[in-house]
Amino acid sequence: MTGTVDFLLVSMILANLWVLGSSRLPSCIRALAFQGVALGLLPFALYPGHITWDLVMLALISITLKAVVFPHLLKRALLEARVDPQVEPFVGHGVSLVVGVASLALSVALFRRHPLPIVPPSDLLMPVAVSTLLVGLFVLIARRKALTQALGYLVFENGIQAFGLGVLKHAPLMVELGILLDIFFAVFVMGITIFHIRRAFATLDTLEMAELRG
C-alpha cells in the first residue's frame, strides 16, 4: 500500500502548493476540498489491516465535512458577501510557493535530525503533516482577506489531523467526532462572521479592521 500512501501524501503537498500559488479564491477553496479527500482516505491506506465500521463511518463524515460542507460554507460566504475573488496576498505567489517548498524541506530535515520514538507508517507522513501545518499558518499570516485566513486555519487543522494519524492508530471515536464537530462549528461561526464583516466594513480586508489598540 505504500504506493497509495505516497500518492495521497503527494496530493496533500500539491494541494498546499495549489493554495499558495492560486490567485483566485474559488480555486483555493477547491484545493482545500481536494486536500480534504486525500486526508480522509489516508487512514485506509496507512492502516489497511485495521478497517472497521467505526473507521469507515468516521472517514465518511470527515470527507463529507472537509470536501463538501466546508468548501460549500466558504463559497457561500464568498457569494453572499460578494467578495472580490482575488486573493490579495501580502507576500507574492512566487515567494509563497518557495515558502511552501522550503517548509517541506525543513520538515524533512527536522525529522532526519530528530528521529521519532515510533516508526511511523510512512516516512513521508510526518514531514508532510508538519509542512501542511506550516503552510496553513503562512496563509493565515500572509493573506489579507478574512476568508483566506479561515482557509489558512483549515489547512492548519488538516496538518494537525495528519500528524495525529501518524501518532495514534485511531483515537477514540468520541474524541475524533468531538474534534470534527468543533472544527465544523468553527467554520460555521467564521462563515457567519465573514458575512457580517463584509456588511459592516464593506470589505474583507483585515487591514481595515484596526480600530482596537493600546
Binding site: 479561515a150 486555519y153 494537525i160 474524541v175 468553527a186 461561526v189 462572521t193 493600546g214
Partner: protein
C-alpha cells in the same frame, strides 16, 4: 438556571462523581465552583441588563454608527452553551476531551462577544476566533506529542491522555514531553491570556457586553488555566516538574510586567480591567511555577480574582449603560451618580490591588513568600509589577469614581444590577477575613494533585 447549576456544583463538591470520560477531581471541583458562582452572578445581572437594552437601533458610544443588538434568544442560548462547555472543561478526564471542550468554549462565546453589532465588536470577535482557534490547534498538537513521548513506555502511546494514572514516572521520553508541554502552554496560554499570546484579550474583553466580559475574565480564563495545570500534572508525574515550573515562572513574570506597563497608560475602563486580568493570570502562572505553597495560593488567588474581577466588569457595565462611554477622560464622579456601583468599583479596586482585608492580599502574600524562598529577584520583580499595576489602576479608578462629576443627579440603581457585584465582592471580603475549613481542605487537595513541590 445559574442557581440550578450552582446547586448541582455544590452537590458535586460533596460527592464527586467519577469514572470514565467524565469525573471531578479536587482540581476540577475548585474550578467548577468558581465557574458556577460567577455564572450565577452574571446571569442575575443579565436579566436586568437585557431588560434595559433598547430594542432596535441605538447610538454608538462615540455617537457615530448606530447599531442594533443580536437576538436575545441567541444570546441566552449561547450563554447556556458557554456554561455547558466550561463545565465539560472542568469535568474532563481525558486530555483530548478537554481540548474539545476548551475549543467549544471559544465557539460558544464568539456570538456572545458580537452581541452589540458594531464594527469594533466584530473586529474583536474575528481576532478572538482566529487567535484562539489557532492557539488551541497548537494545544492539540501538544496532545499528539504527548502520545509520542509515551510511545516507548510499557503501556504504549494513547494511554497517557487519560488523567487517571498519572504516575508515568520515567516512561515518558523527556525531550518530546518538554516539547509537548511547551505546545500545551502556548495553546492554552493563548486562551488564558499569557503575554505574548494575550493580543486578543483586551479587545475582546472591552468590546463584549459586560456580562460576557465578566464571564470571560472570571470563568473562561480559569478554564484555560486548568488546561495548563493538567499539563503540569503530567509533567510532574513524569519527573519533569522543574522544567514545567521554569516555563511557567517565565510566562508569569513576563505577563505581569507587560500588563503592568499597559495599565499605566490605560484610557478605557474595560480595557484596564482586561489588562488587569492579564496581570492576575501572570500571578497564577507564577504561583504554580514557584511551587511549594505557591500552588495553594495560586488556586486561592484564582477564586478571589474571579469574584472581584467579575464584580468589577459588572459595575463597568453599569457605568457604560449610564454614562454611555468607557473613556476615562469623559467619566467622573461615579460615586455621586451611582452610589452603590461606585462604591463597589472602589472597593473592587482595593481588593484587586491586593490590599487587606480582601482575599487577594492573602494569596499575593503567599505567592510572594513562595517567591522569596525560590529566588529573591523573582519576588522583587513580582513586587515591582504589582506596584506599577497599582499606580496605573489607581489613576483610572479614582478619576472615574471621585473626579469632577459629569452627571450630577444620582441615578436610581436597580437591584438586579447592583446586587450581583455586591454579593461577589462580599464573598471576596469574607474569604479575606476567614477561609472556611472545607474550602481550605479542598484547595489543599487540589494543590496536592498538581504535584509540583
Amino acid at each position: 438556571m445559574g442557581a440550578v447549576h450552582l446547586l448541582l456544583s455544590v452537590l458535586a463538591w460533596n460527592d464527586p462523581p467519577g469514572g470514565g470520560w467524565l469525573g471531578l477531581d479536587a482540581l476540577g471541583r475548585v474550578f467548577l465552583g468558581i465557574t458556577s458562582l460567577v455564572f450565577l452572578a452574571a446571569s442575575v445581572y443579565a436579566v436586568s441588563y437585557l431588560r434595559d437594552e433598547p430594542a432596535g437601533m441605538q447610538p454608538d458610544m462615540g455617537g457615530e454608527d448606530p447599531f442594533s443588538n443580536a437576538k436575545e434568544s441567541v444570546f441566552v442560548g449561547c450563554l447556556l452553551l458557554f456554561l455547558a462547555s466550561m463545565t465539560l472543561v472542568c469535568a474532563s478526564r481525558h486530555l483530548t476531551l478537554l481540548w474539545v471542550a476548551i475549543e467549544a468554549t471559544t465557539l460558544a462565546s464568539a456570538p456572545l462577544i458580537y452581541f452589540h453589532r458594531h464594527r469594533r465588536s466584530l473586529e474583536a470577535t474575528w481576532k478572538y476566533l482566529l487567535v484562539c482557534s489557532v492557539g488551541i490547534g497548537l494545544a492539540l498538537l501538544g496532545n499528539f506529542l504527548l502520545v509520542l513521548a509515551a510511545a516507548r513506555g510499557a503501556s504504549g502511546g494513547a494511554e497517557v491522555l487519560w488523567l487517571d494514572g498519572l504516575a508515568h514516572g520515567p516512561e515518558l521520553d523527556p525531550h518530546w514531553l518538554r516539547l509537548a508541554f511547551i505546545l500545551l502552554v502556548v495553546g492554552y496560554g493563548t486562551k488564558m491570556g499569557l503575554v505574548p499570546l494575550h493580543t486578543w484579550l483586551p479587545d475582546t474583553h472591552s468590546e463584549a457586553p459586560s456580562v460576557v466580559s465578566a464571564l470571560l475574565s472570571g470563568a473562561l480564563l480559569n478554564c484555560a488555566f486548568l488546561g495548563i495545570l493538567r499539563a503540569v500534572q503530567i509533567c510532574a508525574g513524569a519527573g519533569q516538574a522543574t522544567f514545567a515550573q521554569h516555563v511557567l515562572v517565565g510566562f508569569g513574570l513576563l505577563s505581569m510586567a507587560v500588563a503592568a506597563l499597559f495599565l499605566l497608560n490605560s484610557r478605557d475602563t474595560k480595557r484596564m480591567l482586561a489588562y488587569s486580568s492579564v496581570e492576575h493570570m501572570g500571578i497564577l502562572a507564577l504561583g504554580v511555577g514557584l511551587g511549594g505553597g505557591g500552588v495553594f495560593f495560586a488556586l486561592f488567588h484564582a477564586l478571589n480574582h474571579s469574584l472581584c474581577k467579575a464584580a468589577m466588569f459588572l459595575v463597568a457595565g453599569t457605568f457604560l449603560s449610564t454614562f454611555r462611554t468607557r473613556l476615562v477622560a469623559r467619566l467622573g464622579g461615579a460615586i455621586h451618580t451611582l452610589p452603590i456601583a461606585g462604591g463597589v468599583w472602589v472597593a473592587g479596586f482595593v481588593a484587586l490591588s491586593g490590599t487587606p482585608p480582601f482575599g487577594l492580599f492573602l494569596s499575593e502574600l503567599g505567592v510572594l513568600r513562595a517567591g522569596l524562598q525560590v529566588n529573591p529577584w523573582i519576588a522583587a520583580a513580582f513586587l515591582a509589577s504589582l506596584a506599577t499595576a497599582f499606580v496605573g489602576m489607581a489613576r483610572v479608578v479614582l478619576t472615574v469614581a471621585l473626579g469632577p462629576p459629569v452627571l450630577v443627579p444620582p441615578v436610581r440603581e436597580s437591584w438586579g444590577k447592583s446586587l450581583p457585584p455586591l454579593a461577589l465582592l462580599a464573598l471576596a471580603l469574607m474569604l479575606g477575613l476567614s477561609v472556611p475549613a472545607w474550602l481550605a481542605e479542598g484547595l489543599r487537595q487540589a494543590a496536592a494533585l498538581v504535584g509540583v513541590s
